[in-house]
Each structure stands twice: as C-alpha cells, then as structure tokens.
C-alpha cells in the first residue's frame, strides 16, 4: 500500500519526521520499541563521532584515506533497524553506521580504513559481506545471496546499499533485473547523496528520481527522505514484508546529502558551494531524531552530552588500540590467497624471509 501511494513517477517523497523533528505524517509513524529507538540514536551518534574523529586522525597522518558518512546516518540506520538479526547486509563502502548497527565492531570498521584486511573479518554470526569498492558490483552479490535464501527456504532477506553514482553502472541494471526476474528477497537502498565524487546527480542521469528506475524492473520503487530515520525504517519494514512473502525486491531511494568529502583525497570546494552544504546541514538527521526522542520523553540534553562524551572516549580508545595492534605480518599477506598455500607462494615467502635475514629491509 505504501508503495502504491508513494509513486516515484508522481514525484512523491515519503517523509514522517520533518527537518525540525516534528511528525508530519502521524498515520505512518512506525511503532518502534524504546530499545530500538535508542539503539538507532546511539549508533547514529557513534557513527558521527567516529567520522569526525577519523577525519582528524587522517589529518594527523594516523589514518589512511577515509570516506566519511556525515549526514547519511539515518539513511543507513533506519533500514538496519527494520531488519532482523538473520538478514544479510551487502555493502558498498559508505555504510559505516549500517555496519555498526549490524554488529561490526568499531574496531573492525576502523581497522579496514587503517589499511588492514582484518577489518573485514567480522565475527561469524555477523552476516555482513566485506566492503565492496568496485562500483555497482555488489548488487549482483546481493541478488545471489537472496536467491540462496529463497531456494533454501530461509526466513531472511538481503539488503544492499549503493550510491546515486552507482546506479549509472551496468552492473546495477544487471543485478536489479536479475533479482526482480527471480522475485528474490532483496532490498536495495540507494543512498542518493547527490554526488558521484565531483559529478552532481543531475549530470549523471536524466531520470527525475532514482526510485523510478524500479518501474523498468517491474518492482516497487519509493523515494524517501533519507535524513528521516522513521521514514527509512517504515519503507524497509514494508519492503521486508514483501520480500518474505515472496513478492520480490524493492528499490528505495534515500534522498540525503554527503556533508563531507567523497574521501579524504577529495576537495569538494572544487565543485560545490558552501551554501549548498549549509542548507543541507539544516536537515541534519541526528538533530531531528534527537528532538523526536526528547518529545517522546525518551531522551534528554543531559543524556545526550553523556552519550557524546562516552562515544568520544570509546572512539579514542578504540583507535589507539587499532594503532597498537594494526600491523600486518609477512605471512598474513600470503596465507589467504588459497585455502592452502601453493608451492609457488611458499617459495616466494621463503625467498623474502631469506632476503630479510640477509639484512634486507621491508
């Protein structure tokens, strides 16, 4: 019903909580438990604090290239809160908050951006695929994960994230079409943060919305205020119901904004105005969610201050630990190439050890 009402071809965008934290659509306000609401908020604040600190660490030369999520917290946490523990998360690379919500530890998430593959070795029970850098290719993985869920009659869905830029890629089309054709339980979230590095969304496609691309696949698509955690929650909750029933995938466009640079290697001042960024900062997802929680008597300014302090300390301690334990041994770069090291690899590793023994430097 939701997807019939919010038809992307008619340009209607789902919003429940407006920029100021007021409920503008009370009939649609999702019923979310207190614990879940607080977990959502705590994760968003942790994500924000981690991002801001990571940018600092990077400037200090302690962190490598980093892709911040600032401004996109609701687009990531809203969907994850509407899923179940046994659902799968298939990543692109700007889903730090979704990862944290799903059980990836802060330490692992940092370790990856610190330049260590162990940061993608999540705990066994955490059903998250590693960060996927080649644009658009993850959609096909999610289609396969969801196909396997369906074939094996597992009561689970796969959620996959992609950026607005990624929808230009051939593999986006291939993956969406594949998933739709086989009615697999997949939910695609497009984080439309308005930029593919320097290229604005309107220069990457003639389509009025990205959600309308669903029409061609014969599946529902919906445009959602991506800075509204309640709207994102609701859209995914509905999409999950469809998926579990066997009705197939749903395409959700989260309209949001990348407040920070693409990565720390990028300088957005080359291609966009500060005023545009400031305008979007007024639509901050954390600010409006906090107001909502305070209005519901679930939160207070005092608790908020404590939370930020707690997270700051946590982030500092965690990153320090990453720095202390984040080195990679020679053996490690070889041993995950195959299940068993080949004679070739053993020979190459032994050669290098011999070189080091002879006084060679790393």
């Amino acid at each position: 019903m939701l997807f019939e009402k919010y038809d992307p071809l008619k340009g209607e965008m789902l919003q429940i909580l407006d920029h100021e934290g007021k409920i503008v659509n009370d009939k649609l306000e999702p019923k979310i438990s207190k614990d879940t609401l607080l977990k959502m908020y705590r994760t968003m604040v942790l994500g924000r604090v981690a991002d801001e600190k990571a940018l600092q660490f990077q400037r200090q030369g302690r962190m490598l290239t980093y892709a911040p999520n600032i401004g996109q917290e609701a687009a990531q946490v809203g969907p994850m809160a509407a899923l179940k523990d046994n659902d799968w998360l298939v990543l692109a690379f700007r889903e730090f908050n979704a990862m944290l919500y799903k059980g990836v530890t802060l330490e692992q998430a940092f370790l990856y951006w610190y330049g260590n593959e162990r940061g993608s070795r999540y705990a066994d029970e955490v059903k998250v695929l590693p960060i996927n850098v080649p644009i658009g290719s993850q959609i096909n993985h999610a289609a396969g994960v969801a196909y396997a869920s369906k074939l094996q009659k597992k009561d689970e869905v796969a959620i996959v994230f992609i950026g607005d830029g990624g929808t230009s890629h051939g593999e986006f089309h291939e993956g969406m079409n594949f998933a739709a054709t086989f009615d697999v339980p997949m939910i695609t979230i497009i984080q439309n943060n308005q930029y593919a590095i320097s290229t604005p969304r309107h220069k990457a496609t003639k389509a009025k919305t990205l959600a309308q691309k669903a029409v061609a696949y014969g599946i529902p698509g919906i445009q959602v205020d991506g800075n509204d955690p309640l709207a994102m929650y609701l859209a995914v909750e509905e999409a999950r119901k469809r998926a579990i029933k066997g009705d197939g995938p749903t395409l959700i466009e989260a309209v949001t904004y990348r407040i920070g640079p693409h990565t720390t290697s990028d300088n957005p001042k080359l291609y966009r105005e500060d005023e545009e960024v400031e305008k979007w900062m007024e639509k901050d997802p954390i600010k409006r969610f906090k107001k909502y929680l305070i209005d519901k008597k679930l939160w207070s300014d005092k608790k908020d201050e404590e939370l930020y302090e707690e997270h700051k300390q946590n982030v500092l301690d965690t990153f320090k630990h990453v720095e202390e334990t984040g080195e990679v041994s020679l053996e490690e770069i070889f041993e995950y190439t195959y299940e068993n090291m080949t004679p070739n690899l053993i020979e190459q590793m032994e050669y290098y050890k011999e070189y080091l023994k002879q006084g060679g430097n790393e």
């Binding site: 490598l64 290239t65 990856y112 610190y114 330049g115 260590n116 593959e117 960060i131 850098v133 080649p134 644009i135 658009g136 830029g165 990624g166 230009s168 890629h169 051939g170 593999e171 593919a196 590095i197 320097s198 290229t199 220069k203 990457a204 496609t205 290697s265 990028d266 080359l270 291609y271 984040g326 080195e327 990679v328 020679l330 490690e332 770069i333 070889f334 190439t337 080949t342 070739n344 690899l345 190459q348 590793m349 290098y352 070189y355 002879q358 060679g360 430097n361 790393e362």
Partner: protein, 325 residues
Amino acid sequence: MPNKTILQSINEALDQSMEKDKSVVVYGEDVGYEGGVFRTTAGLQKKYGEERVFDTPIAEAAIVGSAVGMAVNGLKPVVEMQFSGFSLPAYNQIVTHVARFRNRSRGKYHLPMVIRMPYGGGVKALEHHSESLETLYAHIPGLKLVIPSTPYDAKGLMIAAINDPDPVIFMEPKRIYRAFKQEVPDEMYEVPIGKARIVKKGNDITIIAWGALVREVEKAMDLVPDVNAEIIDLRTISPIDQETIINSVKKTGRVLIVHEAVKSFGPAAEIISLINEKAFLYLEAAPKRLTGFDITVPLPKGEPHFIIDPEQIAYEAKNIMAFEA
C-alpha cells in the same frame, strides 16, 4: 627549458593535442569539471568546452564502448579509467572490440583512441587502487601498451599515442605523478612507441624496468657502485622492443627484470622467454625476475612487504653478479 612533472607533461600533451586537432575529445569519471581526481585533465574543460571535455556517469564499459563508436566516426577519444583496478568493467569492450575492430573489418575501421589509466602501488591506497595489470593488456593482440617513467617521455609518448592509428593503453605511474621534475620542451614532439630507452649504459648486467620502478633501479645502482649495470626503461610493453633488450643482454650476459605486477605469467616471463630464444648462448647467469608476489596487492598496512625497494633490487643484482657457471 621549463621543468615539469609527469602529471604536468601529460596535461600539456592533452592540451596541445586538443588545440591542434579538433577531433581529440577527452572524457571519463570526474575528468571534466574538476579536472580528474589527480588533476591530470585540469583546465581542459574550461579551455575546450563541455562538448570536448566531459564528465561521464560511473560506467567504464560505456566510456570505452562509446569511444569505439566515436573513433569509427571521425573522433580521437582519449578516455580515462580512474584507476587501472577499475578498468575491468571495460575489459569486455577492450578485449572484444577495441583490440579487434581493425582485424574484424579487414582494415575498413581502425580505432585511433587512447585509454589512460593510473596504475601501480606505493600510494597507501584502498583496495583496487594499487594494481599493476600490464599482462591483462599486453596479452591482447591488437592493443599497444605504453608506460612512461619520466616527464619528457610522458609528454612525447602521450602525443605519439594520440597520433597512433591503433588503440593505445596508456598506464600512468601515479606514485611518481608529482615525484620529480625534468626539463620538458614546450613544443609538441613524439617519443616513438615500441622503442625502449637506455637509461644508463653498462657492461655487467642488464636491468629492465618501467614506470615508477625505473627510478628505484637507478637508486639501487647507487647502492652498489661496483656493479656497472645497463638500465633499460622499456617504455612500451607491447609491442616490445626486442632489439634493445637482446643487444644489451648479448653485451652483458646477465639480466634482471623488475616489475610490480605479480610474478606468474607476468611481463618478465615473456621477456625472459625472448632472451632464451634470441640470446641463450650469451647468458652467463640464469635470467632473474624481481616482481610482485603472486598475491592480491595488500592494503597499506601489509603493502610494505609487497613493494619492491632499491635495497632489494641491489641485493638481487649482486646475487646475479656473484653467479658463476
């Protein structure tokens, strides 16, 4: 003569080629408005307009596939793959069409196009930003593969690549984009494709490298002054300059090939085969290769184990010199 970096030299080659030849167009992801993530194409859109220099959607197959169409219809596209690790969605177009149009049409169509791609490690980058994929392109009949190691060659090879009637893969060693400057003429000139450069003459051992590793070899030889090496910068991987390699090996009898691409089935394997075929009886020691290990390029914390440095090159050169049959 003014001093320029590799990056400036490539930019200048593109600029002057566009100025001189209206059929040259430049496009790719982020290359237009902001002038590329490395700024290699900075200023070109302003000068030549959005029709000739433009940003594309993120779609490598579309970038290369459309260049095929443009090339058969009178343009000379110079397209960019943002990193060589991201050229693979276009690999289908490159292998199945770019390399074959001349042959398929028995010469009716040919593709005067250049596919630029920054490549190589040592820049502490994320996954897929550090690969050396020479073999993937050098192995395909119909493609030329060029890799400059100096600003002078970067300009001359780029101009030659744009003027070449056949498709050229132009790999740019991003680690040394801005590492050093060299005197580069302001006027246009070509450095011939298919011709290696003898960096330094010597009689003891032939050391062959390209891209960022040429400088590493030069530094290595400073560490072992008693070894009088002949250093060859291959510059064009395919078609390979057999003559320069074979003549050098016939003189020195010893050879070391250094590349960052992984070892097995890599470029050094081809070069050593060539030497075995054409200079076997001149060899005084087994030809050696110092290459990347047969692994995925590690993320930055593991990358130092993978990167080849001057000390390691010097160590290998000494080992080969110590060999006596």
